[in-house]
């Protein structure tokens, strides 16, 4: 029998993912900022080479959660983490974890594009230089491939040595993504990557996200629910620091299991 839309109907069982398919395994993660509990025992498995979106109202803990995946919260005074976050079967909160190495494996891009005030080229190779790579040919190759993967190469190949600040907002954001992927991370964290961009640049980034998942696991925080619906394979809805629902994106946006999810995605009172 003909099966037209099989791919959009098959639903994964996110709890029962095989270990080798899991990029990030969050187990009973609780996070306090001082006295305030920002995340309440969150457990979820984020699959490899897929896009996972985190949605929820402001202050629900989605940015806090995504920052746990490369330990950016460590920098906030009074932050205490219980539970574990396993990447490649290693708990990244283990006291022997090397955080610098971790952050090169788990890249992050923020809401506002933050290129360094140097040339386009230097921005992309920055992390590689820090790693001690200085051979020009290697840097050139890596810079080109990172810019190509970030869908920026054609636009900047003739101005690699101009200041990165001359690029448009959308180009700057793709440059920052190129800088992150130059280090060949396993995971790319995007914290509201398009909220400062116009609709067309947004679409370019969304298209880019779709191609990035062939190589990387992508986790994206977004306030734009339609964006989550468009780009992600699965979506997690957080509310007041709790993981309310985590399912296939197609399922979550058509038939959410939880009343709270339904109310949030349809724009109703909580």
């Amino acid at each position: 029998m003909l099966d037209f839309f099989a791919s959009s109907r098959t639903e994964k069982n996110l709890d029962a993912l095989a270990a080798d398919k899991v990029a990030i395994n969050v187990k009973d993660l609780t996070l306090h900022f001082g006295e305030k509990r920002a995340l309440h025992s969150i457990s979820m498995k984020i699959p490899k080479n897929q896009v996972t979106a985190l949605i929820g109202p402001s202050g629900c803990g989605k940015s806090t959660l995504i920052s746990c995946f490369n330990r950016m919260n460590d920098l906030i005074p009074g932050c205490r983490v219980d539970g574990s976050v396993e990447i490649g079967e290693r708990d990244i909160y283990h006291r022997k974890e090397n955080v610098s190495v971790l952050r090169s494996r788990v890249g992050m891009v923020f809401q506002k594009p933050n290129p360094f005030p140097t040339s386009v080229y230097e921005n992309v190779v920055y992390g590689l230089r820090i790693q001690g790579i200085s051979e020009r040919r290697v840097l050139d190759n890596k810079a080109e491939s990172a810019l190509r993967n970030a869908a920026l190469w054609d636009e900047v190949k003739d101005r690699l040595f101009e200041s990165a600040l001359t690029l448009s907002g959308g180009q700057q954001q793709r440059l920052v993504i190129a800088r992150a992927i130059a280090l060949e991370p396993e995971i790319l964290l995007l914290d509201e990557p398009t909220s400062a961009l116009d609709p067309i640049s947004t679409l370019t980034i969304e298209e880019l996200i779709n191609t990035l998942k062939d190589k990387y696991t992508v986790v994206i925080v977004t306030h734009n629910m339609q964006q989550a619906a468009r780009v992600s394979d699965q979506t997690a809805f957080l509310y007041e620091g709790k993981l309310i629902e985590y399912s296939d994106t197609n399922r979550l946006f058509t038939m959410p299991r939880e009343q709270q999810t339904e109310e949030y995605i349809t724009g109703r009172y909580g």
Partner: protein, 240 residues
């Protein structure tokens, strides 16, 4: 999952838009219900003028279908409805199409009355009226269930379609028997058969609308599914 009320969006304008949309469908349903009632009355009393007015009124139903579709398109484009809101809009598009087709079936019945002298015995006529009354009751209940988004009634009404199908088959058998004795009026008989078929089709369309109600409330597509499976789908929601 509990059912969410339609009018609880943060955007009051969106509440209003959905409410207006639903009211438009109910109004359209009300007009078609009146049309069917008039057509059956005209058939009972052989009232040609009434039948003519039924035929003339069908344009209203057609125009409402177009308007409702336009509004649904606009809402999808501007509001990006999700979950139950999306199901509501889809259900309205589909239910409206079915209601419009019910209007067409009613027109067919009215056409029979204006074609002239009806062939057949009193018994056939009475049986057609009885089936018509049953179809009328089914349509009324369906529209009520739609207004209240009542899945239990929808499930109960859904079953009536089988009874109507049975009556239709009996009517057909009776008609065929009489037609064989009365081959001279075959053209008129064909009109009668069309009208019988139209009644039966109204039942089918009501059944469709009941399925949409279940889809909207439960999120389960119950078309082309056995009654047993539908009953399971309905229970599923209650245990969750």
């Amino acid at each position: 999952m509990k059912q969410v009320k339609i009018n609880t969006h943060i955007s009051r304008k969106f509440n209003q838009e959905l409410e207006n949309l639903r009211n438009a469908v109910l109004t359209m349903g009300g007009i078609v219900e009146q049309q069917l009632s008039d057509a059956l009355g005209a058939f009972r009393d052989n009232n040609r003028r009434m039948a003519e007015s039924v035929i003339l009124n069908d344009f209203q139903v057609n125009s409402m279908e177009v308007q409702i579709d336009e509004e649904c398109t606009r809402i999808i484009a501007t509001r990006h409805p999700t979950a139950s809101d999306l199901r509501l809009v889809l259900v309205i598009v589909k239910a409206t199409a079915d209601i419009e087709r019910i209007g067409d079936e009613v027109e067919r019945i009215a056409n029979l009355i204006i074609t002239g002298e009806l062939p057949g015995s009193e018994s056939i006529k009475n049986n057609m009226i009885a089936t018509g009354d049953k179809v009328m009751a089914m349509l009324r209940k369906t529209l009520n269930a739609f207004a209240r988004l009542d899945v239990d009634s929808a499930f109960a009404i859904h079953k009536l379609d089988k009874e109507i199908d049975k009556q239709y088959k009996a009517l057909l058998a009776e008609a065929i028997k009489e037609m064989q004795q009365d081959t001279d009026s075959l053209p008129q008989w064909l009109e009668v058969l069309w009208a019988m078929r139209a009644l039966e089709r109204v039942g089918d369309r009501c059944k469709n609308i009941c399925e949409y109600i279940i889809y909207f409330v439960k999120g389960r597509d119950v078309r082309h599914v056995s009654r047993k499976k539908i009953a399971e789908a309905l229970r599923e929601g209650q245990t969750e």
